[in-house]
């Protein structure tokens, strides 16, 4: 019996290793990795807090008027009817009335819904097409006012035919593009 004792201890040791130590050691390794990930996350959250504080300080240092201007340049959403009313009001200053207004959100860049990250823009474009009748000098004044408006408006196409018009009045077809944040 005494001679079997060392053999029994060796068998017990091997049994202990395979039934307890090995599975728990594997679990320890997994927990250790997890603990490191949490540690990294905590460090990153601290870095993020510093970045956020700096950004907040910068943002708060911006004059309120500039922030309001930014909101006009790239609004959160686009109220098409109000924009057309604003354009008509600007046009009205030059004796112009806009008609046959068509509004369409730009979807041409992504017909299949596939987004290329490099091309992804944080803003949306909306096209507005309309017609109006005016003299050429009033057209240029109207365009000048549109160019300077705080709600950014880019002319994408413009066409007119002089034909045999009287009183120097021509009918213009115009398509403009404006923007809002996604």
């Amino acid at each position: 019996m005494r001679s079997l004792m060392p053999l029994l201890l060796i068998v017990l040791s091997i049994g202990l290793f395979y039934t307890f130590i090995s599975p728990h050691y594997e679990n320890v390794q997994m927990l250790s990795t997890q603990a490191n990930q949490y540690e990294d996350a905590l460090k990153k959250s601290e870095e993020l807090r510093v970045v956020r504080d700096n950004l907040l300080t910068e943002y708060n240092s911006l004059p309120r008027a500039d922030i309001d201007r930014l909101m006009r340049i790239v609004p959160d959403s686009l109220d098409g009817v109000k924009l057309v009313a604003d354009i008509d009001a600007v046009a009205g200053r030059h004796g112009i009335t806009v008609s046959e207004v068509k509004i369409s959100e730009d979807t041409s860049s992504n017909p299949q819904g596939i987004v290329n990250v490099a091309d992804a823009k944080p803003y949306l474009s909306t096209s507005i097409a309309f017609k109006f009748t005016s003299t050429y000098p009033n057209l240029t004044k109207f365009l000048g006012d549109l160019e300077k408006s705080l709600q950014v408006v880019d002319v994408k196409s413009l066409s007119f035919t002089s034909g045999k018009s009287k009183n120097d009045l021509y009918t213009y077809d115009i398509a403009i593009q404006t923007y809002n944040l996604k």
């Binding site: 004792m5 060392p6 053999l7 029994l8 201890l9 060796i10 017990l12 040791s13 202990l16 290793f17 307890f20 130590i21 728990h24 320890v28 927990l31 997890q34 603990a35 949490y38 540690e39 996350a41 905590l42 959250s45 601290e46 993020l48 807090r49 956020r52 950004l55 907040l56 943002y59 930014l70 340049i73 790239v74 041409s108 860049s109 823009k121 944080p122 803003y123 050429y136 000098p137 240029t140 365009l143 000048g144 160019e147 950014v152 880019d154 002319v155 994408k156 196409s157 413009l158 066409s159 007119f160 035919t161 002089s162 034909g163 018009s165 120097d168 021509y170 923007y179 944040l181 996604k182």
Partner: protein, 203 residues
């Protein structure tokens, strides 16, 4: 003896692994709580608002850098168009990024010589590229009608160009009298001929 040493070692290892496992579990639990507190301290709503403000600023920069001012082109056209030539139909199409701006105009001129001079003036201006006059014909009034297609340099219609020191339009050059006979009054005008029928000599 070897069996005893091995068993003791196995026993110590088992206790050590078990204890360390419990320590890690406890540590992870504390870190989870800390991370949750840190997440709340970050104020996700504020971060979202700041991120949106950042998007707004970068969007505004991009949009304003491409913002177009078509009046720059009309000013240039006014300064370059000859008095004895007028444009009747006009169409301009700008691509999404303003990289390609195509202009197509029909017009009429007193004679072929005027068109040749106009073509030369346009071709010498760096803001108007690939200008091409074609489809010449003589109408009932004896004027030569034509079609012009050209592309505009994107810089010409950039709104920010208006804030540069240089003038928005190319300076008016003296009529090219030495190169082309200008005795019949062909000269560039300060007023627009684009769509302005009253400035045509043939009326």
């Amino acid at each position: 003896m070897l069996g005893s040493i091995l068993f003791v070692f196995a026993l110590i290892s088992a206790i050590g692994v078990f204890a360390y496992e419990k320590y890690l579990e406890s540590s992870i639990s504390k870190k989870q709580s800390s991370l949750e507190s840190a997440r709340e301290a970050l104020n996700p709503e504020l971060v979202k608002e700041l991120s949106r403000s950042n998007s707004r600023i970068t969007s505004a920069q991009e949009i304003l850098s491409r913002h177009s001012a078509l009046t720059n082109f009309f000013s240039l056209l006014n300064s370059l168009t000859l008095q004895s030539l007028r444009f009747t139909d006009f169409s301009l199409i700008s691509q999404e990024t303003n990289e390609r701006i195509t202009v197509k105009m029909t017009g009429e001129a007193r004679d072929y010589k005027t068109i040749a001079l106009q073509s030369k003036i346009f071709s010498e201006n760096p803001s108007i590229t690939n200008s091409n006059f074609f489809d010449f014909s003589v109408n009932e009034d004896g004027n030569v009608t034509f079609v012009l297609e050209a592309q505009l340099a994107p810089q010409l219609i950039l709104f920010e160009r208006n804030f540069e020191a240089a003038p928005a339009t190319a300076p008016i050059q003296e009529p090219l009298q030495n190169e082309t006979d200008n005795s019949d009054g062909v000269e560039r005008q300060g007023e627009s001929n684009a769509g302005d029928q009253n400035n045509t000599n043939n009326q």
